[in-house]
Subunit: 184 residues, 2 copies
């Protein structure tokens, strides 16, 4: 078995393709220097928000806190995005924000969600082109459970349109999926 010329052996070709081995003429196969951990890191950093985002749940700013809580239960999400009636993103409201409001003595059906939400420009967002890993880092860094996936609203980047949602549940699903690759 001579490997001095890089005629691809079928069984080693897959390792060459996955980046573990390099094959060079008159050199043969050699180790690329990347460990399994490094390749796993690269694989994970190649997953993109656009392939994992789920459908966003939105309400307008005039919606009452009571109705927002009902929407949250009906849609079974932990975060709701708040938009202007024109359609662009103005806020995010979490289960935590709503719980805090619900503890007060106020009448929940008379408080608009716009009063208790976190507002632009203090929102953490991501785009479809971002990596899932970047979105995960943003969630951890800013301690939020969910990010709106956005793009410029009607092509104008003064406002943002919400086109998806990435949550810790999204990441948990990706984690389960990555762990499901098994040897045959």
């Amino acid at each position: 078995m001579h490997l001095t010329r890089a005629t691809l052996r079928p069984d080693l070709a897959i390792l060459t393709m996955s980046g573990f081995l390099d094959a060079r003429p008159r050199v043969g196969y050699f180790y690329s220097g990347k460990t399994a951990n490094q390749l796993m890191g690269e694989h994970i950093r190649n997953l993109h928000v656009k392939d994992y985002k789920s459908v966003p749940v939105v309400v307008t700013e005039a919606t009452s806190v009571y109705d927002a809580i009902c929407t949250m239960f009906l849609e079974d999400v932990g975060t709701i995005f708040v938009i202007k009636k024109e359609g662009y993103l103005i806020g995010v409201v979490s289960r935590k924000d709503l719980l805090q409001t619900a503890m007060g003595k106020q009448d929940l059906s008379s408080i608009p969600v716009g009063v208790v939400m976190s507002r632009m420009p203090n929102l953490i967002t991501c785009t479809p082109e971002d990596t899932l890993h970047y979105a995960a880092q943003q969630m951890m860094r800013h301690q939020v459970d969910s990010l709106p996936v956005v793009r410029p609203f009607q092509g104008d980047d003064r406002h943002l349109e919400v086109i998806g949602r990435i949550s810790k549940t999204t990441l948990a699903k990706a984690f389960v999926e990555l762990g499901q690759h098994i040897s045959v």
Copy 2:
């Protein structure tokens, strides 16, 4: 470069150790049949709950819903575990359960958390020896945000002692960590 005898070449030894190549006397190196995805799956399935669990937040069943919500905010967790005063696990209460209760017209400081919690034996738990991947699958399957990590209470398995917590945040952290392995 002859590889007919399995004298380990230093640059290929790492691939042998990581399971990609097998080295056999008089055969040389050959591909083990495992792809990078399969090895990544194996790597993920080798992470254990005991190495990732965080500190559990517990209250006794007589604690009021009001105080449970305060504890949740102070400790910044999404799920609280409820124990008997003797110390064993009897229930789990989530931000969602508390929000549902807070929407009612009742006085939150007069309702004990034991009334609104999910109860044993309907709780999803995990042990320190379970894999993180198993815990993640359980969370997804049963649609819960957090699992108590348990062991038999005082060595007797009729009751469970809570010794940790695994949440979707734990999984998000693991995901960020796995994606951080970079090539040098």
